[in-house]
Structures are given as C-alpha cells and as structure tokens.
C-alpha cells in the first residue's frame, strides 16, 4: 500500500493547498494553546476547522486535529472542549500527547480515533504498547531520536500504525521533554504550544552583523545579507569554555541549523513497516506546503513502483538551506 502522506496546514489556505497538491491527510490545530504551533496569525477557528474538514473530505482526504500540548492544571476544560469540537467537526482522528487528556478522550469519546503525538515521546515498544493497551491508541508518531533500524524493531513489537517525520524542522531533543524554551523565555512547547517564541525574538544589527536574540540571549550572529536561521534555541551558536574534558569549542553545539529531509530513506522506512510520512511545518506558508507535498507525493508514488527517489527538489525551502537525514542514521548521535 502506498505510504500515507500527512501534511501540515496552519491556515485554511494551506489546507486547501495541501489537498490540491496530493496530501492523503492534513493535520491542523485550533487557534489557541491546545496545539503545539500556537503562533501568531496561525491555526483554525471552529468554523474554519469544520469547513476545512468538509473541503478535504469532499476530495478524499482526511483531517487530523492536533491537540498536543499538555493541559494546564485547573484549566483542562479548554483541552476537553477542543477534543469534543474536533470530533463534532468531523476530524478523522485527534493527535494527543498528555496521558490525562488521552484518558479523558478514550472515556468520553470511545469512537474517536486517537493518535499519539510525537510530543508524548513514546520512544520504545513498551511506551507505545502502554498507550495502545491503556487507551486504544491507533497510531503513534515516533520521536525523531530513532534510527531506521530501531523503527523496524519497534514495528515488530507493536501492532498499531507508526508515522514518522520525513521533512521539515528537526527537534534534536526528545520532543515533549524539552524546557529549553521556557528556560530562556518562560514559554514552552508543552505548556504554551510555542518553542523559542517570536514574541521573545529580536533581530538587531550590531557592528555590521545581524544578531538574533531570544529572551535577550544571543542565539546566533551572521554577517549582513547571509542566510539567517530563525533563533531556535537548540540550533543556536554557543561556546563551551575549556574544561578538564577539552579545549574551548564554539559552534552549533546541539544541532546545525539544518532541516530534516528523509526522501532518500522512504523505501527503507516503508520496509520498516511505517504507515505514514509526516511533513513538519504548520507555521510555513501555503506555497511551502504545496511544493513539499507535491514533491513527497511523487516520492511515495515512486516508492510504490520501486523507482529511485527524487533528490534535491526542496533545498531552497529548508532552513539554512542544507538538509540532514537526522537521527535516522546512527552517525547523527
């Protein structure tokens, strides 16, 4: 069976662009803190969600609603309502991360299909089976810390579907288990649905260089006019002063500002038993979505017939304009 292409949409226009470009499935979120791309100007009102789902359904595509932040203590009702509204809008499934919210959804909406968000960081068969057995989760989005070999091994030990990231921004930390953003800004992916939020970003020109600061902390410095990646904390340029273990080092100590492109690995991922390929980027424009989806639709169709994978189609769209296969290759670690 052809691998399912799960594509991002931050706006109704992007949803339509994704469906027209050949997405089998589109994922999106409500315009509030219930989803992990809670960015200014992004996401769907209740009405837009219902319209978007109807639009996709009419063209044979499915919509998944990401409600993948961790509900705030004392305010769980906001997240519970989001699950109910997604179901009423006709979502094919909801993508959840928080065990308490998943327990609520499984109990209150037994017919609603549940996917486990990458934010739940279920990185081994035990964790995945725990969610599957406790809540009837039907699909897990695997963390970006795993190699293809590990994904193969996981699929042998679980009997729910797996979805893996194929393209886009790369988390180097285990997703859903990272407080770097709130360390510097007070706002985190888990609590607020934002990482290195734009509200705390400042670009400043200093001595002929562009400085990007997050919460006042210098994340990187680039010559004027040079490519300037967004100051995501884990992709910043830092210095580790000399210690007992070695001399001082300056550079991208956590990850280079690259983005994930697993196109060449699609045949191996398919062989590893992966059901669906996910494209990151609900914060990107409809132009981006259309181009990436078109390229990946061609790639999964090529994989179906055993044809070679197309290469280098998307270089311009990637951060810092270089790509990596990330953790899928063991050498990344």
């Amino acid at each position: 069976m052809m691998m399912e292409l799960v594509c991002p949409a931050g706006t109704p226009a992007a949803l339509r662009a994704a469906v027209e470009a050949g997405a089998h499935t589109v994922y999106c979120g409500f315009a509030d803190e219930t989803n992990a791309r809670n960015f200014p100007g992004l996401n769907f009102s209740r009405e837009e969600m219902a319209e978007g789902i109807a639009y996709a359904k009419a063209r044979g595509a499915k919509v998944l609603v990401a409600i993948n932040t961790f509900p705030r203590a004392g305010a769980q009702a906001l997240w519970h309502r989001a699950v109910a509204d997604a179901k009423d809008a006709g979502a094919h499934a909801v993508i959840l991360a928080d065990p308490g919210l998943i327990a609520h959804a499984a109990e209150t909406h037994p017919d609603l299909r549940l996917h486990l968000s990458v934010q739940a960081a279920a990185a081994n068969p035990d964790a995945i089976n725990l969610y599957a057995e406790s809540f009837g989760i039907r699909r897990v989005v695997l963390p970006r810390v795993l190699t293809v070999e590990e994904i193969t091994a996981i699929n042998r030990e679980i009997d729910i579907e797996t979805e893996v990231f194929a393209f886009g921004g790369l988390c180097v930390m285990a997703e859903g288990r990272c407080s770097l953003s709130s360390w510097a800004t007070g706002l985190s992916p888990n609590m607020n649905g934002v990482c290195s939020p734009a509200s705390h970003v400042a670009y400043v020109e200093q001595d002929g260089q562009n400085e990007a600061r997050l919460g006042g902390y210098l994340i990187h410095r680039t010559p004027k006019g040079a490519p300037a990646p967004y100051p995501t904390l884990c992709k910043g340029c830092f210095t580790a002063p000399a210690t007992a273990s070695g001399p001082a080092q300056t550079g991208h100590l956590f990850e280079d500002p690259v983005s994930l492109d697993a196109t060449e690995l699609i045949p191996r991922l398919q062989k590893a038993g992966v059901t669906a390929l996910k494209i990151e980027g609900r914060q990107r424009s409809r132009a981006y979505v259309a181009q990436v989806v078109r390229a990946f639709r061609a790639a999964v169709e090529a994989a179906e017939t055993g044809a070679p994978m197309p290469t280098g189609l998307l270089a311009r769209l990637t951060e810092g304009q270089s790509a990596t296969t990330g953790a899928y290759a063991k050498t990344w670690r």
Partner: protein
C-alpha cells in the same frame, strides 16, 4: 515539607558516589532516589555501589528508591527497567513506558522527567499506583498548587524541584561526545571528566546551559529558597535537591533549617551564595517567568 535527594545526574567515579551517599546518610534528608537516569552506558561503572548505598541509607532511616532511565530506546535499557521492578526496592519512573514492567498492584514514584502537567494525568497515574510525583521543573506555582491539592485527594505526595541544575532536555544525541567530535557509540565516556557538567555560554559570554552527556541542564542552579512559604502553603510534600559536587551535606542542612523555620529565605539565599561562590541561582519557573531569571 521534607527533603528528597534526587538521583545523581553526572557521571561520577564509584568512589565519589560511595562517599556522597555516606555523607547523605548523615543529613536530615527524608528520602533518597538512586540510579542512572541519564545514560545507560555509565551504569556498569558504578552499579556495584547501589546495594551498599541502599544499605547505608536505609540503616540511617532514609526511604530509598531506584530511578529508571529518562530516555529508554535500547533493548538492554528496557531489560534494566524490568530488573529494577523485580528488585523489590521502590521504583521512581523517569519514562512512562517502564510502567509495562510494574508488578500487578505495586506502588511507584514518578520523577521530574515524566510529564505531569495537570490533575487528569496525576489522577491517571494515581490509579496506576503512583504514590509520589516530582513535578517537571518548568511548572508555575498556580499549576503546582492545583496539582498538590489534587495529590492530596488522590493519595499522591507532590514534590517540587527545590535545588540544583534543572533537567531541561534529553536527546538521542550525546552533546559531550559531539563536543569532542565523537559519536555517542564512541564517546569514550568523556562526560566523566566534567563531574558538574560542561558549561555552555552565549557568543557574548553569558552563562546559559550545562551539557551533561545526552542531557541538557540549566547553567544556573534553580533554587526555591525564596519561595518555600508559598510551596508549603500550596500543600507541596517535599523538595527535591539535585546532587552536585562540593559540600552537598551543607546544602541539605541549609534547606533543612529553612524548612524548620530556623532560617529566613533571604538568609538561605546568602548562605547558598557563600557555600557555592562560583554558582549563579535562578528561580523564574515557579513565577511563570524564564527559568533562568536570577533568584533574589
């Protein structure tokens, strides 16, 4: 409120560990969590110390539990988790997946790297048998309060990150090895040469983070020295103190005196600075501010 000593985050030689737990045995800490929660490759170097440490701490009247790893991906690591539950010593889970190995009806504790952000999750864990939960360090006081109350109702003691470098992230990639242009599989245990982690500064020289193998910690030491009254009022059961090199017994003693009301917060802060003259202190998380906000 009482004091819990968290598991050691860093890769210390066996002898240093032995001395550390002997020192802890003589403090007023109520309980101690032992175990390798960062990198499974380190464990063979010090696991023989564990039985001795348990014995020494139990003899001193401490409650002792064993922590699992925070990020489990390998078969060997899953087996280790299973063995922990089989040991009969109470287990603190640092990754949800290990609940698979929980013996039927057994109680367990939950460490700060498990995402407990709300009552729903706390109650689900309580139904599974959780009796104690150390909350993630990034939670603000309003959430801590709600969770401590939910914990009281559900029979779960709620613990808060009280002192030490907060665990901010864990990765499949080893940053210590990366600093030496080595892959994780060929790390040559270089993290062992930095017993308090390796500092990471911004390009303009501001202290920022600390790298500890696959784990990233805050550079500043998080402290609740100035927020203990609020935590007490919220119904928090315990403060977690995270080990670091130096006279840690003096740190434990300092928090113990503060808990007994013998030392006001400002004085605790002053003493902390005296005991750790190289360190900086942060307390933003509880106030919903950047975690690295300077304390005081």
């Amino acid at each position: 409120m009482d004091l819990t000593i968290g598991p050691i985050a860093f890769f210390w030689p066996a002898a240093q560990l032995r001395d550390f737990y002997q020192m802890i045995a003589a403090t007023h800490a109520r309980r101690v969590v032992i175990g390798e929660w960062v990198c499974s490759k380190r464990l063979p170097f010090w696991q023989n110390e564990i039985p001795q440490a348990i014995e020494c701490l139990t003899a001193a009247g401490k409650e002792v539990s064993l922590s699992t790893l925070a990020l489990i991906t390998l078969k060997r690591e899953r087996r280790q988790a299973e063995e922990l539950f089989a040991s009969g010593v109470p287990v603190e889970i640092a990754d949800l997946g290990v609940l698979k190995y929980l013996p039927e009806g057994a109680a367990f504790q939950v460490g700060p790297t498990v995402n407990v952000y709300n009552e729903g999750t706390l109650e689900w864990l309580a139904r599974k048998g959780a009796t104690r939960i150390c909350l993630p360090p990034e939670l603000p006081l309003a959430s801590v309060t709600t969770l401590a109350q939910a914990g009281l109702a559900a029979g779960v003691a709620v613990e808060v990150w009280g002192h030490g470098r907060a665990p901010l992230a864990i990765s499949g990639r080893c940053y210590h090895a990366r600093l030496h242009e080595r892959a994780k599989d060929n790390c040559q245990f270089v993290c062992g040469e930095d017993p308090d982690g390796r500092d990471v500064e911004t390009l303009d020289g501001q202290s920022f983070l600390t790298v500890n193998g696959v784990q990233t910690l805050g550079h500043a030491h998080t402290t609740v020295a100035l927020q203990m009254a609020e935590l007490q009022a919220a119904g928090v059961a315990s403060l977690r103190l995270s080990p670091h090199p130096g006279d840690f017994a003096a740190i434990v003693d300092l928090y113990d005196r503060a808990l007994q009301g013998l030392t006001p917060g400002s004085e605790t802060m002053t003493r902390l600075r005296e005991l750790m003259p190289q360190a900086s202190f942060a307390d933003g998380f509880l106030d919903g501010q950047p975690g690295l906000r300077e304390a005081g």
